[in-house]
Symmetry: C2
Amino acid sequence: MTGQFAIALDAMGGDRAPEMVVKGANIARQRFPEVHFLFFGDEKRLKPLVDKYRALAKVSTIHHTDQVVKGEDKPSTALRAGRSSSMRLAIDAVQSGDAAGVVSAGNTGALMAMAKVVLKTLPGITRPAIASFFPTLKGESVMLDLGANVQCDADNLVQFAVMGNVFARTVLGVVSPTMGLLNVGSEDMKGHEALREASAMLREFKLPGSFHGFVEGDDIAKGTVDVVVTDGFTGNIALKSIEGTAKLYAEFMRATFKSSFLSKLGYLLARPALNALRLRTDPRRYNGAIFMGLNGIAIKSHGGTDALGFSNAIGVAADMITHRALARITEDFGNTAAVSRPQAAEL
Amino acid sequence: MTGQFAIALDAMGGDRAPEMVVKGANIARQRFPEVHFLFFGDEKRLKPLVDKYRALAKVSTIHHTDQVVKGEDKPSTALRAGRSSSMRLAIDAVQSGDAAGVVSAGNTGALMAMAKVVLKTLPGITRPAIASFFPTLKGESVMLDLGANVQCDADNLVQFAVMGNVFARTVLGVVSPTMGLLNVGSEDMKGHEALREASAMLREFKLPGSFHGFVEGDDIAKGTVDVVVTDGFTGNIALKSIEGTAKLYAEFMRATFKSSFLSKLGYLLARPALNALRLRTDPRRYNGAIFMGLNGIAIKSHGGTDALGFSNAIGVAADMITHRALARITEDFGNTAAVSRPQAAEL
């Protein structure tokens, strides 16, 4: 899509909403002047916040609703009782074509359930997946699924590869992404049946980029491939293991620099360089879990993020819209579907 | 076991064997004066190495063999053709009762296959598991299985919990270990059927320590529990994801300190503190993958380790022997078996 487009924002989702959402939109506006913002939420609170930024107010529309999906609401409750919620109305705006994408920092389960029911999956995609990107030794990589599907068959994994490939091209800017299937060894015989089947199918496909084969857990941080494909159980545990380890090492470093007078002084001298590193690995830079495979762009921002983090989640949506991510998934999947089915049956 | 005991060493396994093995034994000897070392390998090379350390020579016996399992040998080849190899003879020494445990830095697959065939599993244990321990925010935790079993049922997971519990008590020195099942969420309904079943069974058991319930990927580095129980597929990927991330952050730090004159100076000032941190997270400290559930203690040292790392793998074996790890597994498993079977059938 070129030219102007709208992004729907669940203005009431997230720990620091609605202030953080409005401020985040104002940051994103500077990077994406072509975007029109549709805010869904409490107009009385939203109007003065939006009006603080004149340039933002010009490209914004506020849609009032009192109803909010709470953090503790079950997906089924949100689906049934949240039809007028800020989250649901923002998703509805994508379905009706008023917006090209939706961003919410609210309840993940509710967002996923509502987005699935309202937007439905793209043709050829059986199950949507959650994708996210993160820093590696070589740059940035994307991994999926991160928790939407606890069990996956070979077809699901192949679909995830197609979607991850498009994400790498549209958001990470990789022209010809490499893809790998997460496994316990790189040899062809390793792992589950579904992995071996998916590997055989991906070798046959004419996707942009190339299929690397199996990758192992340490390949994620190495950046061995641009797209790490896995089932939602393994992907969720791998991602959280990585996040936990990153926090552990940050904590170890903090304690180390505090441990003596000399190390405190050393910290002061190295601070500009350490701040640059902090910026590079800042979780706000990688904010935005993408619900891939839906017939509409839906981004889940971290609930605890601030305006800068939220603006990056909006940025992911804007990149995907600008670079026609959904159309590309359908195109790529059309090219692979012919190969996929008979292959899977033969194996 | 108290008093003297012997540990069999595959003197020819590992990148820097046999020098590294002999030096490692000499370091371990100082920590464990009650250990007698049985070296299996090329006597012509081993004798002068051992004789360099008078105190070591006094507590060592060399058993000559020319045959060596190579790094690239398949487990099946090693089993069939490696009956006189240094690795096999060292394992045989445990089976015959000449040694209380075996340590090898050689081919992992071959060691696992030979140890399974020769030592067999403990009564009540269906499948052995690979365990390892690592630093956390709170101290140290153990995780298993790390790759021996790609698919696991609830009984397997419960057995791993029993074995990990014993490891935490005998090697990590935790009196009353907490145990957790690795999952994608902490709620009871999350994850695979096998996990929910195992969780129900572990809640019933009278194990020393306590069952925490489900833990997530970030709980590993947090040290939320002393024992992280998982299937070999997930465990392998979680551990390698953690290792890869630790290396990534070490590399980020190295690059950061090198990035400017001031940061280099800062590094020099903080160096003593940074060295202390390096020591704390030194992979050699956590060297030793434990094949748990066999009727004999078998430790796989990292192939690329040095003498210090190898001495720590010997240390793990010595701790397990001294604290009667195998007998404790059998005792604990006896206490739980009565609960386990009917529970599993009901679910």
